[in-house]
Symmetry: C2
Subunit: 191 residues, 2 copies
DNA sequence: CGGGGAAAGCTAATGACATTAGCTTTTTGC
DNA sequence: GCAAAAAGCTAATGTCATTAGCTTTCCCCG
């Protein structure tokens, strides 16, 4: 019988993979221990708590996501950049549903701040994506919040079968991003 | 010692109140039984399961929400109607965070369809709100999906302290709704 | 080469949870 | 007033996360 000899890195990696494959809710300490060939209490040699594990998955998700968004934004500007970033955001959420879900599992994460800076980095990328509109600060923050809310809301509803009609979801997403871009062009602040 | 003599209606009502006051995660069968002065297994005389209870909370939340949106939309049209409905949506989520959270707790709800029709009713209200734009059917569904995604995403991030900067969140919400309206006016479908 | 300490595993136990089975009490309808 | 249904109860099970305390394994240093 082979001893595992694990380290925190491997544990988090396995948890990320399990979350993507089986769902975040199925990623329990028991299931993770089973998958790793050890007993549940042994996991505490590598992680502080269940909440800390979910926070670690979330942190990794945010880092990966930031990288994808950066790549999508590189060498693009204006509407093209916004579409590229939006598509990259949605693609990441689909490819790594567990990591993405952890990112938004605020309930279990509260207090574990491992992912605070990673979240800020995402906002920086979004901000850079909007550079061409040259927004001054109240409007800039409004735009970032709106973009993030729209992306998160769409992906969240989509991931949970929130869109019943069998019309193309891709098209609806493109239309939403176009609407936000139209809003940026219109530029009118709060009436 | 007073016997409770409960019925399903009262149990769901108490669960809704507890969810709003203590949070949906704190609304366990044990805590609910404690609050009602009975033992946990006795709850099964009134509900089928924990999942069914959450689904019942969600159904009530959707019904209440539909009513609020209907009221907000009545006698209004165009951008005014959209703003009124959006504000009503956000206000409901703030006033009844537990019910609203249940509405989007797709994981525990899956399979309990008590809330299916209520969800459809919400979409009907949103559709009516957009009447003035006279959208034909692919664009109409895109607009509804986009509006719902934006509202849900914003409220969801807001509820979980997703907006760090201390700039006014009200203003950001108004700006987002304005952007969506600008998108409706621009009307361009997917490029 | 050998020993000692740290790292990483283990078993056993606890307390919260949902859930089932089966019993008792209360209410209600005739 | 009585019988049956409705609504409560206790006891037990299985799944969680988590803690305490023990043992094994590895690695470094003398």
């Amino acid at each position: 019988m082979k001893r595992a000899r694990l380290n925190p890195e491997q544990v988090v990696q396995a948890a990320c993979d399990m979350a993507d494959a089986e769902g975040l809710e199925a990623t329990t300490l028991s299931a993770l221990a089973r998958a790793l060939g050890i007993q549940p209490p042994s996991l505490y040699r590598h992680i502080d708590s269940y909440g800390a594990l979910i926070a670690a998955i979330a942190a990794r998700g945010l880092e990966d996501l930031r990288e994808r968004l950066s790549s999508a934004a590189a060498g693009r500007s204006g509407p093209t950049a916004v579409h590229a970033v939006a598509d990259a955001y949605r693609a990441y959420a689909h490819e790594h549903p567990g990591r993405y879900a952890a990112t938004t599992a605020f309930g279990t994460i509260r207090g574990h701040d491992a992912y605070g800076t990673a979240g800020q980095a995402i906002l920086d990328v979004l901000s850079a994506t909007l550079r061409e509109w040259d927004l001054d600060d109240p409007a800039r923050i409004d735009a970032i919040r709106g973009l993030r809310a729209a992306l998160h809301g769409f992906v969240s509803l989509e991931r949970s079968h929130g869109f019943a009609m069998d019309q193309s979801v891709d098209g609806s997403f493109t239309a939403l991003v176009n609407a936000l871009i139209a809003g940026l062009d219109a530029g009118g602040g709060p009436a």
